[in-house]
Each structure stands twice: as structure tokens, then as C-alpha cells.
């Protein structure tokens, strides 16, 4: 039954991700990306990580994508010209080398993954992925990274304000 839910959501996510990179208008790309984020929230629910699924919707599909749409509207981006797609001749050798290396690495990863014994997972407790469980780990074992993350967000906020200012006086 879970597979019956997983395959449509996964297919939708992949199709929307392809839509992001093959769309000619930035607004269309952003819409596809919102759909992909919501699909991934569904995948997280399927993995019983409810807290992260809600965060995915609030932070990614909500906050980050609103920021993207805001900047797209602000810059008044039109349909992209076909020149957007042309591969650069100077980089042809590096492109081919990168492609070959990426395929090799992925092949090796798949090889290792399917060699491993992965189908003996233990029974999950009911508390897995709830706000209480994740919050307890966050505020006991990972309290220092949590505080550092708050500092990072503060620094990003100040940095964004300073960078987007018209002129420093």
C-alpha cells in the first residue's frame, strides 16, 4: 500500500524537478519548484518524519519560495532567450570530463547500495519523527549546533539587508 502512494509522489517530484530546469519562464520554474517541495513533504510523511514534513512546507514551500517569487517579480524577468541554452565551446572538454566522472561516481554508488543488505529494518516506535522526539534530541544532544544555526540566521539577515541596500553611507 505504501508503494502505491510512493510511486505517484516520486514520479510527480521528478517530473516537476525536470519542469524547473526545462521551463523557459522563471515564474513557471518557481511554480514547479513549489510543487516539488510539497511532493517532498509527502515523501517525508511517508517516512514518518512529520515534524520535518511540516517544516518543509513552512520553510521551503512558504518562506523560501515567496522570496524567490518576490525577486523574480522585482527583477521583472521575461521569457529567456534561446541563448540561455547554448553550451559554451570553450568548456567542452571539461563538460565531457565532468559528465564521465559523474556517471562513474553514480554507478559506483548504485553498485554499493545494491550490494548492501538493506531490507532488515527494525520496527519503528510510534514516537518516531514527532515534534517531542526531534525536539528532545535538538535541545539535548544538538543544542550547540542549534544555537549556532540561530547565529547563522541572524548573520544572514543582517547580510541580506546590507547587501540589498542601494548605497552604503
Amino acid at each position: 500500500m505504501e508503494l502505491l502512494i510512493f510511486y505517484p509522489i516520486a514520479g510527480l517530484c521528478v517530473a516537476l524537478a525536470l519542469g524547473v530546469i526545462f521551463n523557459t519562464s522563471p515564474v513557471g520554474s518557481a511554480m514547479c519548484l513549489i510543487g516539488m517541495m510539497l511532493g517532498l513533504a509527502g515523501i517525508f510523511v511517508l517516512l514518518q518524519a512529520h515534524f520535518i514534513a511540516i517544516l518543509q512546507i513552512i520553510i521551503y514551500a512558504g518562506a523560501i519560495m515567496v522570496l524567490f517569487m518576490f525577486v523574480i517579480m522585482l527583477l521583472n524577468l521575461k521569457q529567456t532567450a534561446s541563448a540561455d541554452w547554448v553550451a559554451r565551446d570553450k568548456n567542452r572538454f571539461i563538460s565531457i570530463l565532468t559528465g564521465v566522472l559523474a556517471v562513474g561516481i553514480l554507478y559506483k554508488i548504485i553498485d554499493i547500495t545494491f550490494l548492501a543488505e538493506l531490507n532488515s529494518s527494525a520496527e519503528l516506535p510510534d514516537t518516531f519523527g514527532t515534534v517531542a522526539t526531534v525536539g528532545e534530541a535538538l535541545f539535548t544532544d544538538f543544542v550547540l549546533p542549534f544555537e549556532v544555526a540561530s547565529l547563522l540566521l541572524l548573520a544572514a539577515m543582517i547580510g541580506a539587508v546590507v547587501l540589498a541596500k542601494p548605497k552604503l553611507d
Binding site: 524547473v20 516539488m36 517516512l47 535538538l138 544538538f142
Partner: protein
């Protein structure tokens, strides 16, 4: 045919496919905004792997880590888009190839 839970490999395959789509987006597109969105796709793909392993091993560490990834993504997007706006003010284009002031 559709009995039982989803095996770990399926999640890892989905994660790998989305990551590769993100890399392709960064490599073939020249529009700054679309390249940025491709980076977001890659971050999300990594989150799937983290949480799938978390579910498999019955831990909370992966979820904490994906929480941190979301924090970094939010910081990165706000600063990155501010940089794009500042660049756009100096040079009204979003084509990455035309931003070559720092190239030698």
C-alpha cells in the same frame, strides 16, 4: 505487487535522481534564478537521503541534520537573492556568463 513498505533503495534512488537533475540544471542553464533553484533541488535531494536513513536506523540525528540544512538553505537564499539584486542594479542582466568582472 504493491504490498509492504517502501524499501530504502527506492528513497535513495529518488534522492540520486533529484540530485542529478539539480546538477544538470546548474550546468545547462545560464539564468541566475534558475541556477539558484537547481541548488535548492540538490539540497532537498540530500534531505530525502538523510531522513530515509533515519527512518531505516530509527534515529533522530538525520532529522536534526536536515533541519540544519533547511536553516542553511534559508540563509543562503536570503543572502544570494540580495547579491542578485545588488548585481542586477549594477548590470541589468541575469545571464551568468555576463558576470565576469572577477575572472582573469
Amino acid at each position: 505487487m504493491f504490498e509492504g513498505t517502501v524499501p530504502l533503495e527506492h528513497y535513495l534512488t529518488l534522492s540520486a535522481v533529484l540530485f542529478v537533475i539539480g546538477i544538470v540544471g546548474v550546468l545547462i542553464r545560464r539564468n541566475v534564478i534558475v541556477v539558484f533553484m537547481s541548488i535548492e533541488i540538490m539540497l532537498n535531494a540530500v534531505n530525502i537521503s538523510l531522513i530515509a536513513f533515519d527512518n531505516y536506523l530509527n534515529l533522530s540525528n538525520g532529522q536534526i541534520f536536515s533541519f540544519m540544512v533547511m536553516c542553511v538553505a534559508a540563509a543562503e537564499v536570503s543572502v544570494g537573492l540580495a547579491i542578485i539584486i545588488a548585481l542586477h542594479r549594477n548590470k541589468p542582466t541575469v545571464n551568468l556568463d555576463e558576470f565576469n568582472l572577477l575572472k582573469w
